[in-house]
């Protein structure tokens, strides 16, 4: 018999595929069957999609080990998320878990990745594709930020402050890139927000070193994906610094060390 979760995945729309997981958009719960006073079309409006993150089987791994590892990863991601939620870090809520099948269901964040908003394009698009070149039928879009009512610098500030909240809770993200951040569309009730996603590599640590490496990974992501926005990274750090208060000093020192090591490594390699 086919499992409920694989049947759910079959009904889902693929969003992206990474090395570890396939990501889908799906509907989990049915819409409420309302009394006849409400139109059916109205009822379907209240259905909210969810995101399904499916960690597929690795052929090269022993099946039992594979299942155990997959379960642990799903659980790890969920635990990092609930910890973030309790600490007021903006992350997607958890909607369903089927660890045996390697599936984590999350709140669907209606918005755009920071990568997209900074002109880095969707992940699988060409980097140099510019919006002005809109093909036939494709409307030339204005600055997508306008719709969100925020400036690039605002976003940088939001990123810095969200990471600071996360680090204050001793959560290390492990994969901070501009694809792993979504700016939530400014619709009620939550409004415009910077939401951190993809806690697949997250872990807990109190060490300034680990927090510094987290920041360094993001700094590198900025310079490779958004060379033009690189100066803006300073705004990320200043918002981070403000929120971290006295903890900033030791992290800042470590960040300098990490940068130095990074540079040496690239000179050697």
């Amino acid at each position: 018999m086919e499992s409920p979760t694989s049947r759910l995945l079959e009904s889902a729309t693929p969003i992206s595929q990474g090395a570890e997981a396939k990501v889908f958009r799906a509907y989990l719960h049915p819409s409420l069957q309302r009394s006849s006073s409400e139109l059916q079309s109205n009822a379907s409006d209240i259905r909210e999609p969810i995101l399904l993150k499916y960690r597929f089987h690795k052929q090269y791994r022993h099946p039992t080990l594979d299942t155990t590892l997959t379960k642990a990863r799903v659980a790890g991601e969920a635990r990092a998320i609930i910890k973030c939620l309790r600490h007021g870090v903006n992350v997607p809520g958890i909607r369903m878990v089927d660890a045996t099948e390697g599936v984590l269901g999350l709140e669907w964040i209606d918005g755009k990745t920071v990568r997209f908003l900074l002109g880095g394009g969707a992940e699988d698009e060409d980097e140099d594709e510019t919006l002005e070149e809109g093909d036939e039928g494709q409307v030339v879009k204005e600055d997508p930020l306008k719709e969100y009512g925020v400036s690039q610098d605002d976003i940088m500030g939001m990123i810095g402050s969200e990471i600071a909240k996360m680090h204050s809770a001793d959560i290390i993200h492990g994969d901070l890139t501009t694809s792993n951040m979504i700016v939530r569309h400014p619709t009620p009730p939550k409004g415009v927000q910077l939401v951190l996603i993809d806690f697949g590599l997250a872990y807990t640590s109190t060490l300034a070193e680990d927090k510094a490496v987290d920041l360094y990974v993001l700094e590198r992501a900025f310079s490779s994906t958004h060379p033009a926005s690189e100066p803006l990274f300073a705004s990320v750090l200043s918002a981070y610094k403000e929120k971290m208060g006295k903890d900033w000093l030791s992290i800042s020192k470590r960040l300098d060390d990490v940068r130095l090591r990074g540079r040496k490594r690239s000179m050697v390699g």
Binding site: P4, T5, Q33, G88, G93
Partner: protein, 200 residues
């Protein structure tokens, strides 16, 4: 009564029938009946068990329809996968709702108690359980309400205490309105229920 229909689930557990009652006047009797049904033997026992074969949930502790749906869904999944922690899919709903692993405590806190005034009744089963609404209404003496009225009955003070939200920085951030606090609390609560099967 509302029906949640899950088209991707096997027919035997594809539907959840859910009714909400306020001003419930027979909670104590209902609780006794549930206890007695579990002890009775023979055909009479089977009959009584079927009569109370529902999840009875204290509506005060439920923050949204999604909260309830999340518990129901995870319970059905466990039932289908053969990984129930409790005896039935209905007791599993109470277990899923509870923030800790103690089954007795889950039933005591989230189930029906002598003082329960507002009650959610859930039955998981196949499509076409035509008399189910009637059976719920004979079982519970109270005013039936549309499920969308659920949030009017939420006791946020009790929710915060039960899910231990009072110490959470998410709710203590300065300048949060009551609505924002409830939004944050609701998100933590739903997420806690969703991940219950893998909570440490």
């Amino acid at each position: 009564m509302e029906t949640f229909r899950y088209t991707h689930l096997p027919a035997a557990h594809a539907h959840a029938y859910v009714a909400l009652f306020d001003h419930v006047s027979n909670a104590a009797h209902l609780r006794q009946r549930i206890v007695r049904a579990s002890q009775l033997e023979g055909p009479e026992g089977d009959h009584e068990r079927e009569a109370v074969n529902f999840a009875f949930v204290d509506a005060r502790l439920i923050t949204s329809i999604l909260h309830l749906q999340t518990a129901i869904y995870q319970a059905i999944l466990a039932k289908i996968q053969g990984s129930l922690r409790t005896k039935t899919v209905h007791s599993e709903i109470l277990w899923a709702l509870s923030p800790n692993n103690n089954i007795t405590e889950a039933i005591k806190r989230f189930g029906v108690s002598d003082s329960t005034a507002s009650l959610i009744v859930v039955r998981v089963g196949p499509p076409e359980m035509s008399d189910i609404e009637h059976r719920m209404k004979t079982l519970v003496s109270g005013d039936p309400l549309p499920l969308t009225d659920l949030t009017k009955l939420t006791d946020w003070f009790a929710v915060r205490k039960c899910y231990k939200l009072n110490a959470d920085p998410a709710l203590k951030a300065p300048g949060l309105s009551i609505a924002q606090q409830q939004l944050a609390a609701g998100e933590i609560v739903v997420s806690t229920v969703a991940m219950k099967s893998i909570a440490a």
